[in-house]
């Protein structure tokens, strides 16, 4: 399966990275990691590229890691649709101190706009 993992750098996108890389190695997915600029995140795109490469290296998986410019949600959807991906994977939201799940802005945009199936990692 051709999978596009979108990473904006919030905590949940690191969980999604780990889960997706593990699953891609086991299932033989063709994985692309799209690093986007998330204004809600403290991590820089360079840090995310490094995190992605470290995770890939740990399981010996080859993947295309690229930085996407422009609006994060729409650039992910555009790449997924124009390059015929089977699935977009994103972090499944953060929990407030109360324990309530809240989706990030990027996930909300992608869910409402993508014609490609979307997977949220919890």
């Amino acid at each position: 399966m051709k999978v596009l993992l979108g990473m904006g750098g919030a905590e949940d996108s690191l969980d999604a990275l780990e889960e997706t890389v593990t699953r891609a190695a086991a299932a033989g997915d063709e994985l692309t990691i799209g690093i986007v600029e998330n204004p809600e995140s403290d991590r820089t795109p360079e840090q995310l590229v490094a995190a992605a490469n470290a995770e890939l290296g740990a399981v010996g998986l080859d993947a295309d890691v690229r930085q996407l410019s422009g609006d994060p949600g729409s650039s992910l959807v555009q790449v997924a649709e124009s390059e015929e991906f089977d699935q977009i994977v994103l972090g499944g939201g953060q929990r407030s101190p109360m324990g309530k799940i809240r989706l990030g802005q990027i996930a909300e945009f992608v869910l409402l706009n993508s014609h490609v199936s979307v997977k949220l990692v919890r």
Binding site: M98, K100, R102
Partner: protein, 182 residues
């Protein structure tokens, strides 16, 4: 959590402090008491609270809370109650039938949630519970309170508006409401 949250300009009036007592629309005597007074001594209160949530209809969950299953309910409640927040319980005899919580972001700002057991909904308990919770917060220096609510949950939104919450941000799937307590 959201930088765009807007609090009302006006400060809300004074809310009643717990404990409060009232008769609900079904003629049941309900008492709202602060949790803190029970915290260490009375684990019966904790067990009664667990029991309410274990029996809670999953269809009334909001954004993943309360969790389903006793183990998860206990973990969630222990984590909630050990934070420096404020909690009130609505009691009918020995049963907990409602719970309101203020969870701290910092010393003056709190996230609010209330839950009323299905057998006790629509009887005016939510209003009494939230008022006592806000009164309890006011008493202890809470200044800003916010919450999220799914926008299709009309009864909840109406209740929050009735006690003075205003829409703070409507850009997400769930909407944010806020009130200024002091």
């Amino acid at each position: 959590m959201s930088d765009e949250r807007v609090y009302p300009e006006d400060v809300a009036g004074e809310f009643p402090r717990p404990p409060t007592e009232f008769t609900d629309h079904e003629n049941r005597e309900i008492e709202v008491r602060a949790w803190r007074e029970h915290h260490d001594a009375d684990s019966e209160a904790f067990e009664a609270l667990v029991e309410m949530y274990v029996d809670f209809d999953p269809a009334d969950r909001a954004q993943g809370v309360p969790p389903v299953g006793e183990t998860r309910v206990r973990d969630w409640l222990e984590n909630l109650l050990e934070q420096d927040g404020f909690d009130v319980l609505a009691w009918h005899g020995d049963d907990v039938v409602g719970h309101g919580t203020l969870v701290p972001d910092d010393e003056t700002t709190f996230e609010l949630a209330i839950f009323v057991h299905q057998d006790y909904q629509g009887a005016g308990i939510g209003t009494e519970l939230i008022e006592a919770l806000l009164g309890y917060g006011q008493e202890h220096g809470a200044e800003y309170v916010w919450l999220t609510v799914e926008r299709w949950n009309r009864p909840a939104v109406a209740l929050y508006e009735k006690v003075g919450f205003e829409t703070a941000s409507a850009e997400s799937f769930e909407m944010e409401m806020a009130i200024r307590l002091s």
